[in-house]
């Protein structure tokens, strides 16, 4: 299972404002099927812009100036994301690539029950499904993610931040996409809930075999869960390697500085080891 799912070539995104901001420059990236790719970097380095570009979610003044993102579908067809018409784009979104947003607080519609928000996905993408089937599917998703089907009628404000993020992940799983883009999915959560959710993601990935682009500024977290890590600086990828090699032999000075900037509980300054529980973190990164 080592074929390529997504190829991004010479990707450039510019915010065309008074003084144009070159947010993503000459990015080349290949994502394998079933791989977790970490995208790390400081705020404003372009990691979210890149991810949004892959889903064509960018709004003016952001413009994809050159390059292409091609998704190699399960059935063998290649989808050139930039060439999709708006109707095709809508079919592509969530069906092939789903997203989990940072805003555990705000990414869900506050006035709609979460069951209806999951139902929305099925009515749009699977118009053939009957009402009862949709409900059963939504309920099964909530069960799967550990929220429980009795929450179908709950509204976002009735759920905790962690539960909302789980609902978000349940929604992202709905159509069994091949790629899931996670934009800082655990940033607003406390470390324990964060750990639960990360484990959940790892397990789900093993069950369903989707790839993950995991965006965060938290490099140690990426070291735990990612197969490979791309470090971004000022719009470009400065280093892309396996998590293990990034951790042990970071080549680029910026990566080294990033690693050094996280305090260590034991050992020398810069000799960073992050393990709340050794077996868990090994399980995460070895997967």
């Amino acid at each position: 299972m080592n074929d390529v799912l997504l190829s991004v070539t010479d990707y450039n995104i510019v915010y065309e404002v008074e003084q144009p901001v070159h947010a993503v420059r000459d990015v080349n990236l290949e994502l394998a099927r079933g791989e977790i790719l970490g995208l790390a970097g400081e705020s404003g380095c372009g990691k979210t812009t890149l991810a949004y570009g892959i889903n064509r979610l960018l709004k003016p003044p952001a413009v994809i100036t050159s390059g292409s993102a091609v998704l190699h579908d399960r059935d063998g067809t290649d989808i050139d994301v930039n060439a999709l018409t708006s109707a095709q784009l809508r079919r592509y979104r969530w069906d092939k690539v789903s997203m989990v947003f940072q805003g555990a607080m705000n990414a869900l519609n506050p006035v709609a029950a979460i069951g209806d928000q999951i139902d929305d996905i099925f009515t749009t993408h699977r118009p053939g499904m009957k009402r009862a089937e949709r409900r059963e599917e939504s309920a099964a998703l909530l069960d799967l993610i550990g929220v429980g089907r009795d929450r179908l009628k709950s509204y976002p404000h009735e759920l905790s931040g962690g539960m909302r993020q789980r609902v978000m992940i349940a929604m992202a799983l709905a159509l069994k996409p091949q790629l899931m883009i996670m934009d800082e999915p655990t940033t607003a959560l406390d470390v324990l809930v964060q750990r639960d959710i990360l484990q959940e993601i790892s397990e789900l990935r093993r069950t369903f075999g989707f790839s993950v682009v995991f965006i965060t500024h938290d490099l140690p977290l990426l070291l735990e869960i990612s197969d490979r890590i791309a470090v971004m600086l000022q719009g470009g990828i400065v280093e892309l390697d396996s998590a293990d090699r990034i951790y042990r032999h970071a080549q680029h000075p910026y990566t080294q500085r990033l690693l050094e900037s996280f305090p260590s509980l034991t050992g020398e300054r810069g000799a960073f080891v992050r393990s709340g529980d050794g077996s868990q973190s090994n399980g995460g990164s070895a997967a």
């Binding site: 979104r93 969530w94 947003f101 519609n109 506050p110 749009t124």
Partner: protein
């Protein structure tokens, strides 16, 4: 106690308070309705003391009784539908006069208010959704219509469309030569024809506020994260606009709509004056001009009940529109 029960109890207390103020206010005012009626009658001939006594009894102006007894009588009167007798339309009972005037006002102003809300919200939703389109240019125009004094706008339209071009009738609620009041086709047709111009003036002068408010709420809602989520889910744009953006953006307007619905009954005075429309507004004006206290009190009662009723309905509906405002169990 249930959510509904609590709400109803609250509104009952509010109604009682309003009724009590309605009772006290005229009694604190200077001037005696009995004297006024006697003066009117005296112009036509001599008034005997017996007549004077019977008028005082008739108007409930039995001011020798202690206030608490009057208050009890007043509440009993409201419950039994006895609101006294009007001086202006003597000897017609107040309830009957209000019964004749109310349908005119409620249908004209009510429909116009709802229309203004729907038009304003609809256009505002589109203007916010497609920010920078031609609809945005509509905003200053409609705000101008709202800024212009209503009576002036109404008079201008009346002059243009009724006097100069006579597309619409100049005054009245229906054509009393050809139609008689009742549920017949002639009358309804005539009432609609006569009501169109007043309704247009109300809609034109008030939908700008809804439009502006809705447009701006729409714009700020569109920057919310759940809109991006909806787009990433691949939903159709109309669905995102209705279910995600407008559904959230409309919430502040719904609360404003409740208030404006309450003023349907009372806010019609100028309209009905300009168009000589036979509704509650002109009745109230008549009552004030003739110091007709019983009629005034009756009209105030109707206005109070209308405001409270409209608020109660919207209050209950708001729970459906915004789940966050539902009582926590």
């Amino acid at each position: 106690m249930s959510y509904l029960g609590r709400k109803l109890a609250f509104y009952l207390v509010a109604l009682w308070g309003a009724l009590t103020i309605n009772f006290l206010l005229p009694r604190l005012l200077p001037g005696d309705p009995v004297e006024i009626l006697i003066q009117k009658l005296a112009a036509r001939g001599p008034v005997t003391p017996e007549l004077r006594d019977s008028i005082a009894l008739l108007l409930g102006g039995d001011s020798d009784a202690p206030l608490i007894v009057q208050y009890a009588d007043y509440l009993r009167g409201i419950v039994t539908g006895d609101l006294g007798v009007s001086i202006t339309y003597y000897p017609q009972p107040v309830l009957e006069i209000i019964g004749q005037a109310l349908p005119w006002t409620v249908s004209l102003i009510g429909i116009a208010t709802v229309l203004a809300f729907l038009v304003g919200i609809g256009l505002g939703m589109l203007a916010g959704w497609k920010r920078g389109s031609w609809l945005d240019n509509l905003v200053p125009v409609t705000t101008m219509f709202q800024a212009v004094p209503y009576f002036w706008l109404a008079l201008l339209l009346l002059y243009l469309f009724a006097v100069v071009s006579s597309v619409f009738p100049v005054s009245g609620g229906y054509d009393y030569v050809y139609a008689s009041v009742g549920w017949n086709w002639d009358f309804i047709q005539s009432a609609v024809y006569y009501g169109t111009l007043p309704a247009i003036t109300i809609v034109v002068s008030s939908f700008g506020g809804w439009l502006l408010g809705m447009r701006n709420m729409m714009v700020s809602t569109l920057s919310e994260d759940y809109i991006v989520t909806a787009e990433a889910k691949g939903l159709r744009p109309t669905r995102i606009m209705m279910r995600y953006a407008a559904r959230n953006a409309i919430l502040p307007s719904v609360a404003g709509f409740a208030i404006s619905l309450g003023f349907v009954v009372s806010g019609s005075i100028v309209t009905e004056q300009v168009f000589s429309y036979p509704g509650i507004g002109s009745t109230l004006l008549q009552a004030v001009n003739n110091s007709d206290y019983a009629l005034m009190q009756g009209v105030f009662l109707v206005i109070t009940v209308a405001v409270l009723g409209a608020n109660l309905i919207v209050d209950l509906l708001y729970g459906l529109v915004d789940p966050r405002t539902r009582a926590r169990s």
